[in-house]
Symmetry: C2
Subunit: 250 residues, 2 copies
Amino acid sequence: MSAPTNVTAAILVIGDEILSGRTKDKNIGYIAEYLGKIGIDLREARVVPDVEDEIVAALNALRARYDYVVTTGGIGPTHDDITADAVARAFGVGIGEDPRAIAIMLERYAPGDLTAARRRMARMPEGSELIDNPISRAPGFRIGNVFVLAGVPSVMQAMLDSAVKEMRTGAIMLVETVEAGFVPEGRYGDALGRIAEANAAVSIGSYPSFKDGRFNNQIVVRGKEAQAVAAAKAAVEAMLETIRGDGKPL
Amino acid sequence: MSAPTNVTAAILVIGDEILSGRTKDKNIGYIAEYLGKIGIDLREARVVPDVEDEIVAALNALRARYDYVVTTGGIGPTHDDITADAVARAFGVGIGEDPRAIAIMLERYAPGDLTAARRRMARMPEGSELIDNPISRAPGFRIGNVFVLAGVPSVMQAMLDSAVKEMRTGAIMLVETVEAGFVPEGRYGDALGRIAEANAAVSIGSYPSFKDGRFNNQIVVRGKEAQAVAAAKAAVEAMLETIRGDGKPL
């Protein structure tokens, strides 16, 4: 049996508005879940400001390390939209107005309404392929292993639907969740550690949430081999049964 | 007049559950807003998995570069909670059970209930100071310029209240928001770029949201000098008035 294939990705969120707290990022969680479901493992995310040097450095670090990088933000028509320039610099290529992008934008705007600001959205690094934007037309782009998407969540999501068609996918991560409920982590932590050690083909996480003054816990088993996931899940369930039945107060 | 002081920070979110999309991060936005209000500028955020090498590398990159680093996640009682070990390694110091932390935990747990798993939460890198956890007692810790907090939002938030008492603060970022509403970015982008250029003491961002099939825009002026922020805001408002009154369709 061959080992499951891993395809990896990182997200680079670009925007002062996320770092100031003005806008609460919703893209990392959405992209993480979306990629996971199709067999691409998100391994890292970064948020950087609208500063070209920062974008270039982060992008070059991430694109060298992961199969794909998805960026969000900074491709609109205003002066603070500098992602395309930063990406061109990161790749060491020129940037210019892309006639394909202009043609697409002319489907939405009359020629007289194509202001200099709007034309900025047609500037693409040399060698880019366009990414369709069914919401507001101005396209995203792909260059190498980097996919450059909008920051507005609904626009980003529509672009992502197009972008993933160009990505290889690997084995899908199988996920099983076991409700530990009010059994405290401190009661099952030792036993869970032993289960994790004995089931090295999966990763096991314990996730508390806190509500009405008490923790409510979930144990999550993740892996790419169905049998290994099922075996680990069964071990976790048996362990919790033992604790629930041991007569000690929770 | 002396230049406004800048105190900078980064956030390191630690946890497979964020990168898998299972848990949607709420801590970056909360910490960003909180620090901003007291005069600490968040400059970068990263999300890394529960992998010691990744935590160490990210933490060492961030703590060298910013005045403070706040980490969230990975300090609970289960095997996947490896933040304290990773922080100790990043600082090149030992790690051991901290008697102060044990004493605090004994306020909550009877001695017989202090399982090996729970004792894990008392392991602190050498030289750490404890950070109070009024919610569930097991403390966070500070070492050097790094503040290590829980991942569960309500616990993290309570720890942050304690942590910030140990941080220097700088000049507070002043923020003015101008509603551009349905005036399209493409109509004001050129003029806004000229205003941004003429008002170098502030940063100006344009932020669209998308609802019911159209963009609704806000222009945000940020800076640390009140007069400069007021002047730029006035210029933005005047510019929007001109566009609204120019008789062309929006």
